[in-house]
Symmetry: C2
Subunit: 636 residues, 2 copies
């Protein structure tokens, strides 16, 4: 599997380890910030890994057969960038003058602006979950023999997301995943939870199904043996190398000392440290390169798809079609649309958090079980797995209840920094869900998703618009979010109608409209009913379907406001802050629209249980309340 | 410790278990939704618990000596409410006609609108972490012998937050915490990750430091023995009772059958089930009551506070004072203010996520180690522990980097539903942090926190305003959030100045102001510099310190807009959506302010590393850009 060149000898590895320490010190001292001591503890681990185990063609970072290297402890960026210098892909000059500087690519924590970095890290406990995603792709989709090596810190092992990751790695038998835990005992402000209690870490990882190898993280030969053993992918378990290390290892003045986290060495100390480590070196070394490989057979997956009668028919590549007036829940249309997408494009991959029969991701699961991953009730790992699979070029869709994506908020934020394309579908949004009560009502999701950098936020009202928007999502860059609704509502649009991202629909308008009603999803149906009520009273209302909440259709909104004397009523099934009303307000103010009289209807109190209708009325966002607001703003 | 009345006999317990099943079926069938089968699996567990182990005075739910009962599997609400009927605090009539109905208190998932409910559950994996908070309060603060019993589902054991909870329960030796895991094998859409593999669950809990008792969850005597053993708090470990149960237990037609999650039994099946279970019963039964108790001695805590030289002085109850012009970081002022608060009020409790030396929660930790809890890198548990401690009436402050509160977003959302008062301080916000890069920059936090129901969002710019706002937070209801800044900036306000919540400060104004500049935190300093620049050009600018982002000071904003011809420039170190600019836009539109020309400066691209100054300039939110925007809007 590897090239047959002789392995780098341990003398060179030792010199390289010293170089990595020296360069970690030099880069951080030159930048005036950074984490040299957290880098030095793992220098021996990385020296052995990159010379003797990581199969990587540094000249072709996007080669599909390369191993992957993820620094889950992203603050050890001095070490990672020193590795890049040691492999010759980053110059010493860049390391010294680029690190942590404005406009440079060697950022404080690694991001994929560097071609050798898969995912942004720096929010702890995310690199390993992301690595599970890459390993899932490697084993079940690419079916290539690459391995995923993840360097973890010990502080981050307190994050629950780490245990979601090990659980899923073990469930999916990801023997291609190897976590290297750098147990240096010291966190930012003192000793970690478990300190150097490697036995306890070992018990935990083993209990979660990992193969554990414990090693002195400064014994090169022992590390080498452990990595050889860990890289044996013949078993069915992910491997964890628990390395007992010393923070600041290599410079006795700071070794194992508290108070040196995230601090560069002052120049005088740096000079002493570098001298003690044998001075500046310029070793350039390459480890094993991967051999070309073809995808292997599709492996069996643990059974996760509930048995369903085989209909015997092949899924159609044609998007589903719904008639005007036909009742369908947008979540159901999401599932239907996914199947058609999946039939057309074998890079579509779907994941769900154990609610696929509610989000209708189940339809895809039944049609394409090989491209469906059940993540159980672990929303952080759900988003991380989608991120990791996206790293390998797949078009991932992840779904759960909209309320529960808030569990993965930090992962979505980091996915945006990683620059991956990720498609999220949150079902059961708003008070419309009814009897289940507030814990299940997403009332903050639009605000959260709008605030994600570069995101697209979509909120369809019927089957046809859902299908069009799901199809659009497949080609969208960055994070896109689809908000779907529990209940079924009558179709508004004929099959095949187009819904460009950034657009909106004028669903009702006339020459003498007195007021503009803006809705999306369930409130669009209420706005249309309100317009009917108003019509009987002689008030003409224009109605806009704001199916794209971000980017919002400023032009249509401004024109409608202009045409209706600035009188606008916005209704949304969401808290008043940061959602649809906010998008409309921002847009109208940004273009300097004048003479505005905007009424914003939203969920302003804490809901309880009830029927959807009762709660829409209680919140003041149903047709009657929209009509009343319109009457008032129209002076009626 | 308990009353000496004889324990309820097993015959009665068995009849009660049947009643709980019958009532779970009746309530959900009558409501037309709910989770009867998930209730039936745990009916025997609850029947034994409430009759023979839970020490609870049902007539005094807020008695400090009561045990606590938390349904982490909140969807088993039919069972919980059936327990309430069985103890006589809820009538059969309410159970049948109130459950999941509009305007009623027996909501789809339990919330503290009921006096016997501590925290809202229904987002899985939160009840146990919350219970850790209650148990921390019991052991270290109340120092009372009550126990915390938490009923967990098996699906939720896949949530990482569960393992954060067990880790912390074990670290803090919470032998007063007993988790009862209802391992019924079936999740919503099929079998769980581990099914009935109780050995594997046992290994995991034991590895995380819990004392594990495995039991047949339908054997009353065995359950009783396990609960007796688990409730022995003499050891230093939390206990976990792993109960092998059958979903739908008691009605053979649905027992252990897939496809019955979250579905009420149709009326005909309900009738058969009820008949098979012996019909409707009206047993009212009370278990042991707690005896009065006085707080015990303060127990030793695992060392979590880094040693610090003892200054020998007692912390002052006087708030810290900063001079105008004195440079202090608002995060430092946060720590200083906490110490004074803590000296005045012994119900102030502080928690941090292993970054206390950065958030300055460390100052409180050193001054009042007995009221400080280190939560390590586990932000979900950080917020959950603060929530659970707040349940016991303490005034909790929790801090971490603002960016990492996104990790706990779902917990903050649920804390709002729980109605607890929770004070969060997020440090290191925005591009101002500089070299660490985007993973550490909160650029969505204002949007997220504003969208939380009933929240207060504060963003001070100097030491004096920070102190005033931290003091205000101590008395605020609901979720309050303080955004603090990394760098130190010159003080703007004299010591002792007042900063009412909902207010703002007109920090610069004149009669002929042509434009209003709105800033908060770091951008206020930039706005003031911009006003100086504009002044030299003959443009008079009014400057507003919008230190309270929610509720925003609509009146001052509207007056300023009115006075300056509607010309407003808002600058914020945050993404454009949902933050300060959005708050200002919403406020001005809500009051119908006319003739508006608003320019909104925010962070619109993905930042990298750099100095704070470089990045404020790059983002277009520094003094020069604010001045340029003001010039343009003023027609200059």
């Amino acid at each position: 599997m590897t090239t047959t060149e002789p392995a780098v000898d341990f003398g060179t590895v030792a010199a390289l380890a010293a170089q990595l320490r020296v360069d970690s010190i030099r880069s951080s001292t030159s930048a005036g910030s950074g984490h040299p001591t957290s880098s030095m503890s793992a220098a021996d681990l990385l020296a052995v890994l990159i010379t003797r185990h990581l199969r990587y063609d540094w000249d072709q970072p996007h080669s599909p057969v390369n191993d992957h290297l993820i620094f889950s402890k992203g603050h050890a960026s001095p070490l990672l960038y020193s590795v890049f210098k040691a492999t010759g892909v980053v110059s010493d000059e860049e390391l010294l003058n680029g690190y942590r500087r404005f406009g440079q690519r060697l950022e404080g924590h690694p991001t994929p602006v560097l071609p050798w970095v898969d995912v942004a890290t720096g929010s702890l406990g995310q690199g390993l979950p992301d690595g599970v995603g890459v390993a899932l792709a490697g084993k079940y989709l690419d079916r290539l023999p690459y391995r995923v090596w993840v360097l973890c810190g010990d502080s981050e092992l307190a994050e629950g997301s780490i245990w979601e990751a090990v659980d899923k790695a073990s469930y999916y038998q990801l023997s291609n995943l190897i976590a290297i835990a750098d147990i240096n005992r010291l966190g930012q402000r003192g000793e970690t939870d478990l300190g150097w209690n490697l036995e306890e870490y070992a018990r935990r990882f083993a209990a979660f199904g990992a193969r554990v190898l414990t090693v002195d993280g400064h014994d090169l030969a022992a590390i080498d043996q452990a990595m050889t053993a860990a890289a044996d992918t013949s078993g069915g378990q992910p491997a964890v190398i628990l390395a007992r290390t010393i923070k600041g290892s290599g410079f006795p003045e700071v070794e194992n000392e508290d108070g040196w986290h995230g601090k560069p060495l002052p120049r005088d100390m740096a000079e002493r440290a570098i001298a003690g480590l044998g001075g500046v070196r310029g070793i350039v070394v390459r480890g094993p390169r991967p051999e070309p490989a073809q995808p292997g057979p599709v492996p069996e997956k643990p059974t996760t798809v509930a048995p369903q009668p085989d209909t015997g028919s092949t899924p159609s590549v044609e998007p589903p079609r719904y008639e005007v007036g036909q009742k369908v829940a947008t979540r159901k249309a999401y599932g239907d649309a996914l199947v058609a997408l999946g039939a057309r494009d074998d890079r579509i991959v779907v994941l769900d958090g154990e609610v696929s029969n509610s989000t209708y991701a189940s339809e895809f699961a039944h049609a394409f079980p090989d491209r469906y991953f059940e993540m159980f009730i672990a929303e952080q790992q759900l988003v991380a797995a989608a991120t990791g699979i996206a790293v390998r070029g797949y078009r991932t869709f992840a779904s759960t209840f909209a309320a529960f994506f808030t569990r993965a908020c930090d992962f979505i934020r980091m996915a945006a920094i990683s620059g991956v394309d990720l498609r999220l579908s949150g079902s059961h949004a708003g008070v419309e869900i009814g009897a289940d009560g507030p814990s299940q009502m997403a009332l903050e999701d639009l605000a959260i998703m709008r605030a994600v950098h570069g995101s697209t936020v979509l909120y369809p009202s019927d089957g046809t618009s859902t299908v069009a928007l799901v199809e659009a999502m497949a080609g969208l860059p960055g994070i896109s979010y689809l908000r779907t609704t529990r209940g079924g509502y009558a179709g508004l649009y004929p099959a095949g109608e187009s819904f460009p991202v950034g657009g909106s629909k004028l669903v009702r308008s006339g020459e003498n409209d007195q007021v503009t009603l803006v809705g999306a999803g369930v409130t669009l149906h209420e706005a249309l009913r309100a317009a009917e009520i108003l019509h009987t009273e002689g008030i003409a209302a224009r109605v806009i379907d704001c199916y794209c909440v971000k980017p919002v259709d400023t032009q249509t909104l401004a024109s409608a406001a202009e045409a209706t004397g600035g009188r606008v009523v916005v209704a949304e099934d969401h808290h008043p802050e940061g959602g649809l009303g906010s998008a409309v307000a921002d847009a109208l103010l940004a273009v300097g629209q004048q003479n505005l009289h905007v009424t914003h209807l939203a969920v302003r109190e804490m809901p309880g249980s009830g029927s959807g209708e009762e709660l829409l009325a209680w919140a003041g966002i149903d047709a009657d309340h929209i009509a009343a607001a319109a009457r008032k703003v129209a002076g009626g």
